[in-house]
Structures are given as C-alpha cells and as structure tokens.
C-alpha cells in the first residue's frame, strides 16, 4: 500500500466513490421496480390467487393418502418435490467439502494449535460444563424428536439435524474436542456423512427410477399418524438429519481449529 503515491490513491478512491454511486443507483432502481411489480401482484392473504391452484389443493386433499405424512410440508419436500431436497443435501455437502478445502490443517499443525491453546481455554469453566450437562440431553432429545416426528409435526431433518449439531457444538465447547472425538472421530464422522448421503441418494434414486418408468415400487405407507408412517419419509428424514448434523458440526470444527 505504501508504494502508491497520493495521486494514485486519489484516483482509486474516486473510482470507488463512482462505483458506490452507481451501485446505490442500481439498488434504488431495483427497489423502485420491484415495488412497482409488487403493486401489480394479487392481494395479500386472499384465497383467489394464482398460487391457490390444483397443485396446492391436491397436496392438502390427497397428501396424507398418497405419502402417509400428516405434515404436508414434509410430504412436499421429501416426496412430491424430493429432487430439490436431494439437491439441498448436495449443497450442504458441497459447502462442507469446500470448507474442508479452505480451512483444514495438516495433522501436525492441528496438534500444535491445540497444544498452544490448551492452557488459555476459557471455554471449559465449571458453569458452562454444568449448563452443558443439563442442556445437552434435552437438546439431543429435542433434535431427535424433530427428526423422528418430522412427518407428523413441524420440524424435520434439517431443523432437527441443526439442533443435534448445536448439541454437539455445545459438548465440544464445554468438554473440549478430545471428549467429543471419543464418540465422533474423524473416521466415524465421514462414515456417517457419506453413508447417510449415499443412502439418501440410492433410496430416492430407486423411487425416481421406478416412478419415472411407471413401475410399481412403492413402499408401504403404514398407519397414518403413527411414527412408523409415511413410507420412506421417516428414514429419509433420519438421513437428512445425519447429513445436516454432521455438516453443521464439521463446519464448526473446521472454523474452530481446522480439524476433528
């Protein structure tokens, strides 16, 4: 920076100011145009809108019958529009892989970093530990409830997985990475993640394959409203929950120290 003289700096600053002005102008124009568009859209909260068509009505009317899930949102994301959700798990996976690419430390560097940090670790105070002891079982229970009950009530694999991941993060902060590694080593982590993703891909692939070719291949839906209902939705929610929890915890660990 020192090698620039004042004149060149001035040019850069002026260029930045011009860029800022244009950017503001563009954003303002965007806002105005979007507001204008909104003013032409159908009214809020009314029932006679284009979005209230045969598609959404059929999801409500036949969702339970066709998918076995009382939570229609879960039926839509894991059955009617399951391909999106497969893509969504792939996004999480891609993000985790990209963060590994960026932040993962070599084992030696990781060990050095942990050794340096140990004496100063303020995260392991007694208050946090006690809170964590009390809180973690409940968080895990809540996460498991959200995942397992995803087809019956609000929740599902993503929110449940995020809560479970949060519980693991808390465990890690309170008791240190060594303790967490005892039940979630790098090897187990990757096996869980890859296993869940592959199960999801293969199970959904089977459904897509049979569905696309008009072959019978449905899975029994079970008693509506019970925990074992919804055909594949239950197992898929578990797989999504595992992928999410792993991705959340893995990204945390990489941000925190650069490894497991």
């Amino acid at each position: 920076m020192n090698r620039l003289n004042d004149g060149e700096r001035g040019i850069f600053r002026r260029f930045q100011a011009g860029y800022g002005a244009i950017g503001l102008l563009v954003s303002g124009a965007l806002a105005a145009v979007l507001l204008l568009t909104v003013s032409y859209l159908p009214g809020f909260g009314q029932a006679d809108r284009p979005t209230e068509n045969e598609v959404s009505q059929r999801y409500i009317a036949k969702g339970l019958e066709e998918t076995g899930a009382t939570n229609v949102v879960a039926a839509v994301i894991l059955d009617y529009r399951a391909f999106d959700t497969l893509g969504e798990s792939a996004v999480l996976f891609a993000a985790l892989a990209a963060v590994i690419l960026l932040l993962r430390e070599e084992p030696a560097a990781l060990a050095r970093r942990m050794a340096e940090r140990k004496p100063f670790e303020p995260d392991q105070g007694p208050i946090l530990r006690i809170t964590a002891r009390v809180l973690i079982p409940w968080l895990l229970l809540f996460g498991a409830y959200l995942v397992l009950n995803g087809h019956l009530s609000p929740g599902g694999g993503f929110s449940g997985g995020a809560v479970t991941g949060a519980a693991m993060i808390l465990h890690n902060l309170a008791f240190g990475p060594e303790q967490t590694r005892r039940f979630l080593s790098e090897r187990i982590f990757f096996r869980l993640l890859v296993g869940a993703l592959c199960f999801y891909g293969l199970a959904k692939g089977y459904v897509f394959f049979t569905g696309g070719n008009h072959l019978p291949g449905s899975i029994p839906l079970g008693q509506a409203g019970s925990i074992f209902s919804g055909g594949l939705i239950g197992p898929l929610n578990i797989a999504v929950g595992i992928v999410t929890a792993c991705a959340v915890y893995g990204i945390f660990a990489l941000f925190d120290r650069g490894g497991w």
Binding site: V33, A98, G211, G212
Partner: protein, 497 residues
C-alpha cells in the same frame, strides 16, 4: 427403453454418489473415480443423444410416483442430450489433460476434496441441463456456484483466494436476482414446472394480465443468468478467477460452466415464456447490445494482456458476447449459431488452456507471452494445439470458429435493424481476435528463448495429456468439417425444445 430414458437420472446420481465417496478417500482414488465417472457419463449421454437423434423424440421423466403438475421432472430431447454429451466430454478431457498440473498445484491431502467438487460440478451442470423445474434449477445453480468457486480456490495462493471471493459475491448477486425472478414467476402463475408455467403464461399473454410483472421477471432471470455467465458489464470477476486457477479448473470454468447458464436461459426462453412472448418484450434487444459490447471490450482487454491465461480469460468474455449476441438476434439461425458457438467454444477454450499450460511448462513456468519465445518448437503437441485453437477462434475456414461466425452472419440477415451492427462487429471482432492470437503464434514458433538453457529442451508429454489434447483437436475438426450434422442436430433440438 427403460434404461435409455433413465440415463439423465443415472448420470446425475452417479456423479453425486462419486462426489460423496471420493471426499474422505485418498487423492488417487478420487482422481480415478472422478475420471471414470466422467467417462461413463460421456458414454451414456452420447448413447442417449444417438437414440434421440434417430427417433427425433423427446421425453419427460417423472422424479417419483407423481405426474406432471404435482411431482418434479427431468426432460431430455436432442438439445439437452447434445449439450450433456459435449459438456461431460469436455470435462473429462480437461481433467485428463490437467491431471499432472492438478497434482502439482493442489496439496495431496486436498486432492480427494478437489475431485469430489469436480464430480459435484458435473452433477449440477447435468441437472441444470435436464431439469424441467424452475426451483430445482435455482438449487442446482447454487451447487454450481459453490463448486465452481471451490475448484478455483483449491489451488491455494493469495491470488486465487482474492479472485474466488470476488467471483463468489458476483455470483451471489446473480443468483439473488434469479431467485426473486423464480419466486415472482410462482406468484403470478402458481406453478414451478416449465410446461405448466408456459400454459399459464400463454393465458396471461392472451388476457394481458400481469404484463408488467412478466416483463420484470424475464429481465430479472436474464440479468441473473447473464451476471453468472459473465456477460460484458458483469465480467469483472472472470479474468482473475479463470486466470489464476489450476489449468483443469480454468478449462472447465471457461469451457462449460459459463455455458451451463446460457443453456438454462435458452430453455427458459423456449419452455417457460415461449419465444414469441420473449421477443415481444424486447429482452433479446438488451442481450444483443450487451453481447456486442462484450465482443468489443473482451477483445480490446485481451489485446492489452501479457499474461497468457488472463488473455484467454478475456477472450472468453468476448466469446460469451458472441453467444448472447446470437440469442439477441431473435432469429432461428441466430439461436442455432449461438448453440453452435457454445459447442465451439466449449471444445476450443479448454484446448487453448491446456496448450497454454504445456507452453508455460516449456518456458520455465513463465506466464508472460514474451517469455514463451520458441516454446511451440520445444513442446510440439502444445504448439499445434494452441495453433488449432487460435486459428479456430480467429475464424479460419476448416476450423469450428469459422462455422459459427458464418452462421452468426447468416442469422443477422433475418433482422434488418440488427444486421448492420452485427455484421460490422463480426468483422471488427475477427480482426481484433487475430490481433491478439496471431502474435502469440508468431512468438511461440519464431523467436529464440531468452534463457539459453531452455533452447535444447524437448518437453515430454504424459499419456493422458496427449490423449485429451488429441481428442479436443479432433472434436474441433469434427465441428469445423462435419458441421452440417451438428447444425441439423441443434435445429432438431431447438424445434422440439
């Protein structure tokens, strides 16, 4: 029949699963698996293309047990199969040719992750090509963004990190615009599947309802995709990202990732709004003007560049300008020319990047053009490859670039208003292209190396490099000489789109 129609699904799943299992493994395992998958996908897509070309039909494939407006769908016709086959072949060749450089540029512990990202990138491109659903397109656009950024930053230098962050933020602006466009589209039609939106759209067009929102939506979707495919005023991120990445990444990004969005835009024009409707709204005129500006500015900026990879990257800006200009012509021949140019550029630019890599290697890893004196004589294959690519980009007959320019010119004849500027810019751009490609050719064949020690060295190319570069040269000549068949395929594909 069952298996043939399942090919799109199988290709997408195969690449996804490959990505999943190659992440934790060692690098060599991921490398082999990724190349194998890319090869399998190429073969499968080619088989699909041959079959669809012979029967001339197209089909939709329900993703699940629910029919059209309720479930999610893939859709394949000649157009989609052609693009999928070309893209996967180019990805395979780029990875094969850049394999050695990848091993040098990327830390061994990260190789597995790099190849996982490459597989996922191919997966998202295939899904973008085949999808029949707007929201699915958004999801896979985001995967594409993430993985494209990741394969740039895999070569971990200060330069790539900065380039990636600029690339990422520009892409996010683009996908934000695309997302709000999709949502507005849903708000006024109530559908997400392309054929259903098209049906709703034609009703709206007839009744004149929601005219202003519709125009806005087309603009938002086009601008969002234009930002991501580096159309002229939004190109600022491209040279540093494509110029600094490892060779295989540069080749894949320039060759196919930019084009994935253009293919999607074409599908949106044809299958979501209907061509007639799009032309009435005059969005193509905007694309035409920006395309012309891109053709000019990309070439001018490339002339000033001395770093060979950045020069090639600026050349990509110009070539994207050609493609958008062709779409903006709003004639059938113009669109055909744009599609042909997608293929031309997809086989030529990776060839140029791979050749530049070989030339750089033969000149002591220098990226400056003037340091490459005589490099073409030291690495014969790279020299020939660069010559083929450069002559094709300039537009010499027998090479594929000539055919696309010919068809661009033919396409412009259909529209009296756009004919003159388009023809003028085609001539001017050909001259400008020659002004930066020919000096490089002269340099790599004529002059003697500044460093005397380099003079007698003869480069030894690895088998994979020879194979891949040879295949790309071959594809170039196929496009340049057997072009009537390709044009016919594109025409049939567009007709059934």
């Amino acid at each position: 029949m069952i298996w043939l129609h399942s090919i799109p699904l199988i290709c997408i799943l195969l690449t996804l699963l490959t990505a999943a299992v190659s992440l934790p493994g060692r690098g060599r395992w991921g490398e082999g698996l990724c190349l194998l998958t890319a090869g399998a996908v190429t073969v499968l897509s080619a088989a699909l293309l041959v079959d669809l070309w012979r029967t001339g039909e197209s089909f939709t494939f329900a993703m699940g047990h629910f029919p059209a407006p309720w479930g999610n769908e893939l859709r394949a016709g000649v157009f989609e199969a052609l693009m999928a086959a070309a893209f996967s072949a180019v990805a395979l060749c780029s990875l094969l040719a850049g394999r050695e450089r990848i091993r040098q540029d990327i830390a061994p512990a990260r190789l597995g992750v790099y190849y996982a990202q490459c597989s996922l990138l191919l997966c998202s491109l295939l899904a973008l090509i085949y999808t029949n659903d707007m929201f699915t397109a958004y999801v896979f656009i985001e995967i594409n963004t993430l993985t494209a950024c990741a394969i740039v930053v895999a070569k971990d230098t200060p330069e790539t990190v900065l380039a990636t962050i600029r690339y990422l933020f520009m892409s996010l602006l683009g996908s934000g615009l695309f997302l709000i466009g999709v949502i507005l589209l849903y708000a006024i039609t109530g559908h997400l599947l392309m054929p259903n939106i098209l049906a709703a759209m034609s009703q709206l067009a007839a009744s004149g309802e929601y005219a202003l929102p519709t125009g806005m939506i087309i603009l938002l979707l086009s601008l969002g995709l234009a930002v991501k495919s580096a159309l002229f005023p939004f190109h600022t991120w491209l040279p540093s990202a494509h110029g600094s990445a490892t060779t295989a990444s540069s080749a894949i990004l320039s060759g196919i990732v930019l084009k994935g969005y253009v293919v999607l835009l074409l599908k949106i024009f044809y299958r979501v709004f209907g061509l007639e409707f799009v032309h009435r709204l005059r969005t193509p005129d905007l694309l035409f003007v920006l395309g012309l500006a891109g053709m000019l500015m990309g070439s001018v900026l490339a002339i000033r560049e001395r770093d060979i990879k950045r020069m090639l990257a600026y050349s990509s800006v110009a070539q994207i300008g050609y493609i958008f200009m062709g779409i903006g012509l709003s004639t059938l021949t113009g669109t055909v020319a744009a599609c042909f140019h997608i293929l031309t550029h997809a086989v030529t630019k990776p060839l140029l990047f791979c050749a530049a890599d070989g030339l750089m290697e033969a000149s002591g890893r220098q990226r400056d053009i003037f340091a490459m004196k005589g490099a073409g004589r030291r690495n014969l294959l790279a020299g020939v490859a660069f010559a083929v690519g450069a002559l094709s980009m300039v537009g010499i007959p027998l090479f594929s670039g000539f055919v696309s320019k010919l068809y661009f010119a033919l396409g412009s004849l259909g529209d009296p208003d756009k004919m003159l500027p388009a023809l003028l810019m085609l001539v001017l751009s050909a001259v400008l292209n020659a002004m930066y490609y020919l000096p490089v050719l002269v340099t790599i064949y004529m002059g003697d190396p500044v460093d005397g020690a380099l003079r007698l060295e003869r480069a030894k190319n690895k088998g994979g490099y020879i194979l891949a570069v040879g295949a790309l040269i071959g594809l170039n000549f196929v496009l340049g000489i057997r072009y009537p068949a390709v044009i016919a395929a594109i025409e049939r594909g567009l007709a059934t789109l």
